[in-house]
């Protein structure tokens, strides 16, 4: 397969390597600022200079391909019709029905034929005339009789040219067997045969060294065969009761033809044909029965036994004819003046390579051609862009050409747009108001414009073409690329196969996108600093608001902590809204020191007044007062314990919160783990695929950039070489479908089938949060001093009013605890199903990787086949230091160049013998490819436009198919509060009032109410809680 368009700028070969060409470094755009037009423009302005340095490429639409595809004669093969299938990029064979009727066999062919049978055991029975003692050449007076004699028979196998007799030491005879042959029984040991090996010193070799299939060796073999002669009587006479021989002569063992046929010879009219002789033209086309396709025995020359002469060596001289391609480089080397000798070894075997899988023994020909000057001669470029001034072809008019956005004709003119509010300079991608229309239709008020924005604003941004849809008309990418082609001809099996694999890999590497739909943040007071609303740069791929559903849609590239962020966000949204509810109360504000001082003052007062040493004997009212003061001093500190109520209550609320969020946390944890596992598996899969696919791409790159492009050449519209498909295209080996499709199909090619992942939309917009707020009672103690009596000199009987017990704050504490108990119970028996994560393909990793390895192997095999093809006619550059031809060297040690020039094969399918005889025309046509300048008809072999955005024709495109999208049922998670939320603050306030106020408002007995230094008129208002004022607008 050759990549057509891609080869234009990249087909530069600077290396002087003997075998593998290296393309120029590709033009790279790396790390430029893509945010400004100028920076991009600056980058692309250097591209023409890069292209200018190219050796070939470009366009010349003024030239037609007609006449520029080489016509080959003098060799076997099939004629082609270069414009038979323009769209396929290849020619079709003239024989469209593929019956091989277009096969050509040149009359100029020469070769060698033999009627000796290969595979003989080395002996043959011959009924010959002998005297009674078994002797030949006896006088005509001696009676003779027919007896059966076993003679030696040449032993050889295909290829024949290298077989000889060996002596007892397994050395080859330097001479032919003694003529005439003696019967086998006279040999001791019997004659042995084998393939010739490199001769030892001292043994004279006739012709080429024995390990090479060269033309001299074949001639030598022919001569050798003809030395197999036996004696027989060619003319007998009956004398009386006896038969006597009038003329003894030798016969050829294989053909039984007499060595010296006489005009009077009354034997077979074919007599005189030796064991082997030179054939010409159709004589060389004879082959044995049982060939793969054609039984041509009836057309063969036959010996007097009726046995056909088969060709075991053929020699052709190919000539090419094509018109040169004009370019800015040197003259196109069309090879038209070059005669190209070709030698093919082995028994002729005619078949149609299109329907027959060639085997190693079918690669048997040597093409002697010097291509060392092609790299230089085939340089030359056409034009880039359409600067030729030549009108474009008809099909060009339907294609889209680039427009200069800054060109005036591509911009809407203000004067022509007076009816439009917007003055669109599309080239600048910016809109301005049309002042006239703005004033006339919109009253000069921008508000009117905004209010009519739906009708006025047509500035929508379109997606890329493959997925864009404008109105009801889908915009599909137009395939402006030249089609790639391959040697499967109009089937383009390999192209479609490879591009399909590329698309599959793209699908495998295209990460799945999670699309989360969340409730609108603005509606429920989401924290603007929430990391989800302001995600980190790495995660921010899409943040938008959809009008219809009124929800935030966040499309997020998968990252490990993403789901955690989302679920954390959801969890946060469930946080209880707390509302502080003050619980006012009054508490005594006294200093323990002061209270004890007052107690001591009363004690001192008593002792002074009664001259007592202690106040133990004080009256009950004084004693009680002192004790109460001491108790007050001890308990007043306990007031501080009320402060702990807030923390205690807050802790209880936190527990409530935890109960509410625990299921979400567990749900989150479960999903996080599976999500992270999914990501990890996907990452592993991606890494494995990337690594493996890189090898396949490298192999394919080496193929189309180097191997199959040894010099600048355009192989488009040439006849496919079907035999180059062998050894790597599996369908060639199939036993079925052998006729019509020529075993050329994608069957059994390693085929990736990556299940199409789908993006998943997870709709969490149904998540609701608890409306309203939960009251958090907060004690607000107001400290009031107590009215403590102190003794004075005028005090007579002690305190006037007894002190009640210190107010017990346990009731307040109990009220708060009761308030905690009244908090709603949390029932969380509902579980949410786990998030349906995208189906992971990790289970198929092994299969995918194995298939990729098979693909890589297939591409490498293909590369190897083409590599051998091109190397066999090498080298591409001559090495002045290369060793000279040395006939004494072992064949495989000889250079390809030397073997090629002497048309030598070491064996079938060796480095030089790479050419299949049946498609020599196609092969030499390939070698004589035109220059790499794209011509008029090249432009026509463009791909078919895509018909649907969600599919991709593998024969034309490698596509990045967006995943399908699946949505799961909407998730909903909500907190169902009690139908009537308990008014915890009201109950707490009442309890506190009861505990701290006297009757009738509270439940404290007036007698036990602390003697606060304030009137009831000021104490009661402390308990008043200002009401809320609602300023929200009335509901419509």
């Amino acid at each position: 397969m050759r990549r057509g368009l891609l080869a234009v700028p990249l087909g530069f070969f600077l290396s002087l390597s003997m075998t593998v060409a290296e393309a120029r470094e590709p033009y790279k755009i790396d790390g430029i600022d893509t945010t400004t037009y100028d920076s991009i423009k600056q980058e692309w302005e250097s591209i023409p200079n890069y292209l200018q340095d190219a050796q070939c490429g470009g366009w010349d639409l003024s030239q037609s391909v007609a006449g520029k595809v080489a016509t080959i004669s003098g060799v076997l093969g099939h004629s082609g019709k270069w414009d038979g299938a323009i769209l396929s990029g290849m020619a079709t064979r003239t024989d469209e029905k593929k019956t091989n009727s277009d096969f050509q066999f040149p009359d100029q062919a020469t070769g060698l034929v033999t009627d000796c049978w290969a595979g003989s055991d080395g002996s043959v029975h011959k009924p010959v005339w002998r005297d009674i003692a078994g002797n030949s050449d006896v006088p005509p007076t001696d009676p003779i009789q027919k007896i059966d004699v076993v003679f030696p028979y040449p032993v050889f196998q295909d290829p024949a040219c290298r077989w000889r007799r060996m002596d007892e030491n397994e050395k080859y005879f330097d001479t032919a067997p003694s003529i005439p042959l003696q019967p086998v029984s006279s040999y001791d040991p019997p004659p042995q045969y084998g393939e010739m090996q490199k001769p030892d010193d001292g043994i004279q070799i006739i012709g080429e060294p024995g390990d090479r299939q060269g033309i001299p060796n074949c001639m030598d073999f022919s001569n050798y065969l003809n030395t197999f002669q036996y004696r027989d009587c060619l003319q007998t006479e009956i004398v009386g009761a006896s038969i006597v021989c009038l003329r003894w002569d030798s016969r050829y063992v294989c053909s039984n033809a007499p060595l010296s046929p006489q005009p009077t010879d009354n034997e077979s009219p074919t007599s005189g044909l030796p064991n082997s002789f030179v054939c010409t033209g159709q004589q060389c086309r004879c082959q044995q029965d049982g060939g793969p396709l054609i039984n041509r025995t009836s057309q063969c020359i036959k010996d007097q036994n009726g046995d056909p002469y088969y060709s075991y060596y053929r020699s052709y001289t190919a000539t090419t004819q094509r018109d040169p391609v004009a370019s800015d480089g040197p003259a196109d080397n069309t090879l038209s003046d070059t005669k190209i000798p070709v030698a093919c070894y082995g028994f002729y075997n005619e078949f149609d390579p299109q329907t027959h899988q060639t085997q190693p023994q079918d690669r048997r020909c040597v093409i002697k051609i010097d291509v060392s000057s092609m790299r230089d001669s085939q340089e030359g470029k056409g034009n880039y862009g359409d600067s030729t001034g030549v009108s474009k072809p008809e099909w060009e008019s339907s294609k889209i050409s680039d427009k200069d956005p800054l060109s005036k004709e591509n911009q809407r003119q203000k004067k022509n747009d007076q009816l439009d509010l917007w003055y669109m300079k599309l080239g600048s991608s910016i809109s301005f108001l049309n002042e006239d229309v703005f004033q006339k239709d919109k009253g000069g008020d921008l508000t009117n414009v905004y209010l009519d924005i739906d009708n006025l604003d047509s500035a929508t941004q379109e997606g890329s073409w493959p997925v864009s849809r404008q109105g009801s008309e889908p915009h599909i990418a137009k395939s402006d690329q030249l089609r790639a082609f391959d040697d499967t001809g109009d089937k383009r099996i390999v192209v479609g196969w490879w591009q399909k694999q590329q698309t599959e890999v793209a699908s495998a590497l295209h990460p799945t996108v999670l699309r989360l739909l969340l409730p609108p943040g603005y509606a429920f007071g989401v924290d603007p600093s929430d990391p989800l609303i302001n995600p980190s740069v790495e995660n921010r791929t899409d943040l938008t608001i959809d009008q219809r559903s009124k929800r935030i849609e966040i499309q997020i590239g998968a990252s490990e902590d993403l789901l955690g962020e989302v679920l954390g966000y959801v969890e946060r949204s469930f946080l209880l809204h707390l509302n502080e509810e003050p619980i006012p109360l009054i508490v005594p504000m006294e200093s323990p020191t002061e209270l004890r001082a007052t107690a001591q003052a009363w004690c001192s007062w008593y002792m002074k007044k009664n001259a007592a040493s202690s106040c133990n004997g004080a009256p009950a009212n004084v004693r009680d007062y002192i004790d109460k003061l001491e108790a007050y001093a001890d308990q007043v500190e306990n007031i501080r314990e009320l402060r702990a109520q807030l923390a205690s209550y807050a802790g209880r609320v936190m527990q409530l919160q935890q109960s509410l969020t625990k299921p979400i946390s567990e749900w989150m944890k479960t999903n996080l783990e599976s999500y992270q596992a999914f990501l990890k598996e996907q990452q592993t899969l991606t890494q494995g695929i990337e690594q493996q696919w890189r090898e396949a791409q490298t192999a394919m790159s080496a193929f189309h950039d180097a191997t199959n492009m040894p010099w600048c050449m355009n192989q488009r519209f040439e006849t496919p070489i079907s035999s180059l498909l062998d050894t790597w295209l599996p369908s060639r080996a199939l036993s079925t479908n052998t006729s019509s499709d020529g075993r050329i199909s994608a069957d059994e090619l390693p085929n990736l089938t990556v299940p199409r992942a789908s993006d998943i939309t997870i709709d969490l917009s149904g998540f609701t949060y608890m409306t309203g707020s939960l009251a958090l009672p907060v004690l607000k103690p107001v400290q009031v001093r107590l009215d403590i009596e102190t003794p004075s000199e005028n005090t007579q009987d002690g305190p006037e009013h007894p002190l009640p017990n210190f107010p017990n704050m346990d009731a307040v504490t109990s009220a708060m605890e009761q308030s905690m108990k009244n908090l709603p119970n949390v029932v969380t028996n509902a579980a949410l199903a786990p998030l349906p994560l995208p189906e992971n393909q990790s289970g198929q990793t092994a299969t995918i990787l194995e298939t990729m390895q098979q693909i890589t192997n297939t591409v490498r095999s293909m590369n190897e086949r083409y590599d051998k093809f091109w190397k066999s006619i090498g080298p591409l550059t001559l090495d002045p230091n290369a060793p000279a031809y040395d006939p004494t060297k072992e064949c495989t040690s000889e250079t390809i160049k030397n073997r090629k020039e002497h048309r030598q094969c070491c064996s079938f399918d060796d480095d030089v013998c790479q050419h299949v005889e049946m498609d020599l025309i196609e092969r030499i046509q390939r070698i004589a490819s035109r220059k790499l300048v794209f011509l008029k008809e090249d432009y026509a072999s463009a791909g078919i436009e895509r018909g649907a955005p969600d599919s991709c024709l593998p024969s034309d495109d490698v596509c990045l198919l967006l995943h399908g999208e699946s949505a799961v049922p909407r998730y909903q998670w909500q907190i169902d509060g009690p139908k009537t939320m308990p008014d915890l603050s009201r109950d707490a306030r009442k309890a506190v009032r009861d505990a701290t106020l006297p009757t009738p408002i509270g439940s404290v007995a007036p007698a036990t109410f602390p003697p606060y230094d304030a009137s009831m008129g000021t104490i009661v208002p402390v308990y008043d809680v200002p009401r809320l004022i609602d300023l929200s607008p009335p509901k419509k």
């Binding site: 590709p26 997606g463 608001i545 009738p1000 009661v1020 308990y1023 009401r1027 004022i1029 300023l1031």
Partner: protein, 268 residues
């Protein structure tokens, strides 16, 4: 946030008291206020009464029936009454411990009539409230001055035999004020002559700071409400048209990151 709580009785300290519309004072009348503890208590009770009136003007006074349990009202004698239960009000004032008043009776006996407060006006900007607030404060000033004036006048012969007398602080209209009975006997002077004015100054200064803080809070709150409404309308009306192009841009750019490279040269 849909509501706010205005704590009328708290001591709020404002660091800035520069609201120009409130930063004026009516000149003091040259009071000769000589009081007794009883006179002083009666004077302060009247000041408190005026303050409750002023607060009711600012924040409103719900009818007793609509008031929440725990609400406190004052009757005309200055006794505090708490709503202990539905339609049941009790007081701890001497002589009233065994008395329960109904809602209607509380409204009838309350020293402040139910009314709607200035700050309760919805769909009004704070700026529109300023004149009324200013006038309220000005009236509050006048009435407090009038309290001191009547406290002084109550000790004079002008008040003898009268239950009400008209007083006119400087810059104010004539205000009929009740004669303070406990101040009619001015012979027992125990407190400085300017104690009433000092107390009024203190109350006014405090109220001024509260007003400044309150106005600031109200302004911010009403602005937020206004912005919320406007923004909600904005999002409902315009957001798709404005946001959609951005949304498409982001989507396209985000999609570009997924484009793989199919050139073999990208493998390096």
């Amino acid at each position: 946030m849909k509501s706010t709580r205005l704590i009328a009785g708290s001591l709020l300290v404002a660091s800035l008291a520069s609201h120009t519309s409130l930063a004026f004072f009516i000149p003091l009348a040259s009071a000769q206020y000589v009081d007794t503890p009883e006179c002083q208590q009666e004077t302060f009770d009247l000041i408190a009464h005026e303050k409750r009136i002023e607060r009711s003007v600012l924040f409103g006074q719900k009818p007793a029936k609509e008031s929440e349990i725990g609400s406190v009202r004052f009757d005309r004698k200055g006794n505090a009454w708490m709503k202990k239960d539905t339609n049941a009000w009790n007081s701890l004032a001497a002589g009233y411990q065994d008395t329960t008043w109904s809602d209607s009776f509380v409204d009838n006996q309350a020293d402040v009539d139910p009314r709607r407060g200035l700050f309760e006006q919805k769909r009004t900007s704070t700026s529109d409230l300023i004149p009324a607030l200013t006038q309220t404060f000005r009236a509050y000033q006048c009435r407090l001055r009038a309290v001191c004036a009547v406290a002084t006048l109550s000790q004079t012969d002008d008040a003898k035999g009268k239950t009400k007398i008209d007083v006119q602080p400087d810059g104010c209209i004539k205000i009929p004020m009740p004669v303070l009975k406990d101040c009619t006997n001015g012979a027992q002077a125990t407190v400085s002559a300017t104690s009433c004015d000092d107390a009024v100054d203190s109350v006014l200064a405090q109220e001024q700071q509260i007003m400044v803080l309150l106005t600031s809070y109200d302004s911010a709150y009403r602005t937020l409400l206004q912005f919320q409404g406007v923004f909600e309308g904005f999002l409902s009306s315009f957001r798709f048209a404005l946001v959609n192009p951005l949304w498409q841009t982001v989507r396209v750019i985000g999609g570009l990151t997924h484009l793989p490279c199919f050139l073999s040269q990208c493998d390096e």
